[in-house]
């Protein structure tokens, strides 16, 4: 399992994952309902031009979601958007990053991305947190 802890490194909140294996993809497919064969079936992935199955983009987004709601107050998360810019192949180790950019009395903005160990950026986007929200979340 990928039970890693978040760390603050040079202004970047980071969350490192263990290598993505078939078991991780199968459990994510089952739990998320996204059973696109591109993530599960080597033959289907090869027919689509991949070397083997690739990870769900939403798995990278889920890792960023863990990072964002652990580094910052979950209840203050207003919105976030991610673009998936490169594929995450089987065996890759994604690292999620979050860096506070715009800070004000009302809230703050966060740049988010995932990278692989070889430096490939696989997703990037941004999130907004607001202090002026109702709710009693932690």
């Amino acid at each position: 399992m990928t039970y890693e802890n978040i760390e603050l490194v040079d202004g970047d909140w980071t969350l490192q994952q263990l290598p993505i294996d078939r078991d991780v993809l199968a459990r994510y497919a089952s739990a998320s309902g996204d059973r696109n064969p591109l993530h599960l079936d080597t033959d289907a992935a090869r027919a689509a031009g991949e070397e083997d199955v690739i990870a769900h983009g939403m798995l990278s987004m889920a890792y960023i979601g863990r990072l964002l709601t652990e580094a910052f107050p979950h209840a203050d998360l207003v919105d976030w958007k991610l673009r998936f810019v490169a594929k995450t192949p089987l065996g890759a180790q994604p690292v999620a990053y979050a860096r506070v950019t715009a800070d004000s009395d009302d809230g703050f903005g966060v740049e988010i991305r995932t990278e692989l160990r070889d430096g490939t950026t696989t997703s990037r986007g941004d999130a907004r947190f607001s202090f002026k929200r109702l709710g009693d979340e932690k």
């Binding site: 990928t2 739990a31 696109n36 939403m58 987004m61 863990r66 998360l77 998936f84 932690k138």
Partner: protein
Amino acid sequence: MRGDRVIGLQLPEFEVTVQRSEVVDFATAIGEQRRQFIDVEAAREAGHPDVLLPPTYLFALEFKRPQPYLAVELLGASLSSVLHAEQYFGYRAPCHAGETLRFDPKIDDYVEKSQGRLGFLRRRTTVSRAGDEVAILENLLAIRWDVNP
């Protein structure tokens, strides 16, 4: 024009009552260890009515819609030619297991680029609970026509 088949398409609305065990399965599958997502007692101690949904779980719930690939099918694309290009979440209120959420998905747009090799299909879904909007999801899929049979 392929877009004529899907642009403005109102997908079936549906309701789902969030199952605690499925939230826990999802949280576990993404490596989540914090108790508010996996342990109802811990969630209640923290002031929640039940386990809290991880921020991307609404996307998994949206997969429970009837005919989840209807728009892709109407376009005539194969599932393995579809890649997720972008995803947006906006939140008005936190959601928990045990709540009944209503999803209203609509296809907003379809455009083609790169001499028709790539199609971009945009879906916007509002999520409401007892009539109050709690979230908005926006989804952009890329269809690779060059790998379709």
